[in-house]
Symmetry: C2
Amino acid sequence: MSRAAAITSLDAPFAARLDAVAAETERLLDRLLSAQPLGGETVRPQRLIDAMRHASLGGGKRLRPFLTVETAALFQAPRERALMAGAAIECVHCYSLIHDDLPAMDDDALRRGRPTVHKAFDEATAILAGDSLLTLAFDIMVRPETHPDAAVRVALVSGLARAAGVGGMTGGQMLDLAAEGRFGMQGPRSESDTLTMQAMKTGALLRLACVAGAILGSAPQDAHDALARYGNALGQAFQIADDLLDVEGDAATLGKSTGKDAANGKATLVSILGLDGAHARLDALVADAEDALAPFGAAAGTLRAAARFVAERRA
Amino acid sequence: MSRAAAITSLDAPFAARLDAVAAETERLLDRLLSAQPLGGETVRPQRLIDAMRHASLGGGKRLRPFLTVETAALFQAPRERALMAGAAIECVHCYSLIHDDLPAMDDDALRRGRPTVHKAFDEATAILAGDSLLTLAFDIMVRPETHPDAAVRVALVSGLARAAGVGGMTGGQMLDLAAEGRFGMQGPRSESDTLTMQAMKTGALLRLACVAGAILGSAPQDAHDALARYGNALGQAFQIADDLLDVEGDAATLGKSTGKDAANGKATLVSILGLDGAHARLDALVADAEDALAPFGAAAGTLRAAARFVAERRA
């Protein structure tokens, strides 16, 4: 049975669970972003709130919240808490998209088939909306609703800061810009450097989304390590799939432009390994992700399907 | 005795204490920003780290760390912890300056007499350096070195997120841009709306810097409230002094351009109250700040001097 057929047979329950988390995350973010930010004020930064809502509502697979909800479920951690932590992580993801799309960065006009924030609003509003979503992420993560134990919230905040910061997402984004030759410097070109860049840029936050379930569930260290390994493999698979979509994908289906990596002369695992090599690497990563989940047995079936979904997605 | 003479007589010990915190904060930030962000990596986002260092080292009065150190001292909280919390708050301050200076925002080329980050580097690097400093702020605040008790760190992280976010600094910055007529909308024009905008834009972080000492010292609620009142008055005084400097100040002394508010047709307390009215308001705010400190007696002498310093600074 081909992998495509295998995923089709698994698709229905997995897709239903993914959609359920997406709907719950949408409702939660809608509530978190409609709360009055200050009591009794006479003026509100309504345009800023509108821009934050534009960037974070009405779209997205909500893969990161899904990973947090499903890993938390392995330890019977309450779903409402996992949704809060997932919403915090999703705010970081959405902020990064706003800033990445800015004219000075990737200069994209389209995101999820809709105008990017600086197109729908303006650049100043987009910069501030990104800043505000990043800040809101920590606000959400540190709330008692995320976990009653302050030590758990501290671990989540610390994990989020490390995943999002200079040793993670922003550092990886910087290396990615350098890889395009942006600063007149040689960016990462080797497979090893490219893997490091991607592990920082997209991998760190995806891994945190997986590890967050273990933190919320006060899981033992070996379970924590297993989910970190799963998250690493899933993050690499996600990035290769993304790079493949940039080569093989359809802009209309994706809701964003394609062919950018080649146009920018950027090294990716696809340009380094070739198309066949990249597809083979994807299969190996899915196998590694599944292997990491072995200790959890049948309970991790949805997470196994998630790894295949990430590798084989077409949008 | 005139207020100017009064501050001169207090200046020496106050200035020495301010300088001491500035030097300690500089050393701490230098250490926090030189740490290897990831173990074992082969590529580092060195340009990003350089930009973060450009923005946060080598300048600044370090007023916010000073307020945290001095309020923490009222409760005998260890100075090293207050310096950590102060460094986190300073990172938020420095990030906000990077983003405020961007071409799409205030479009400033000069900050503390040096090129702004997007001038010294480039816009993409400046956006990412701001994002990274904001993220680092939470990373620092949540570390065990800031306080051994996770509940205290949670209170600090929560306070920082509220002060920096849409209900605080970024929301206030948005209202400030609207006040310039940026979005074709009527911005805050009344005294009340202008006070709200300023309480969010600059007041919230200054107040947090004061309240952080009470949080670090596990102070009783009335002491917490007294420092919040002090921080409110000091924040308003800081902003009026800033607006006065924009009218009366010297660009060379300030290390930034002046006359921007009038050029932008922006309502400030100075344009609303007039120069004499603004100076009178400043005196009343200093008196209120001093009054709020009454419960702390002689121990709060330095904080009293800080209120006068903020009101009467010339740079």
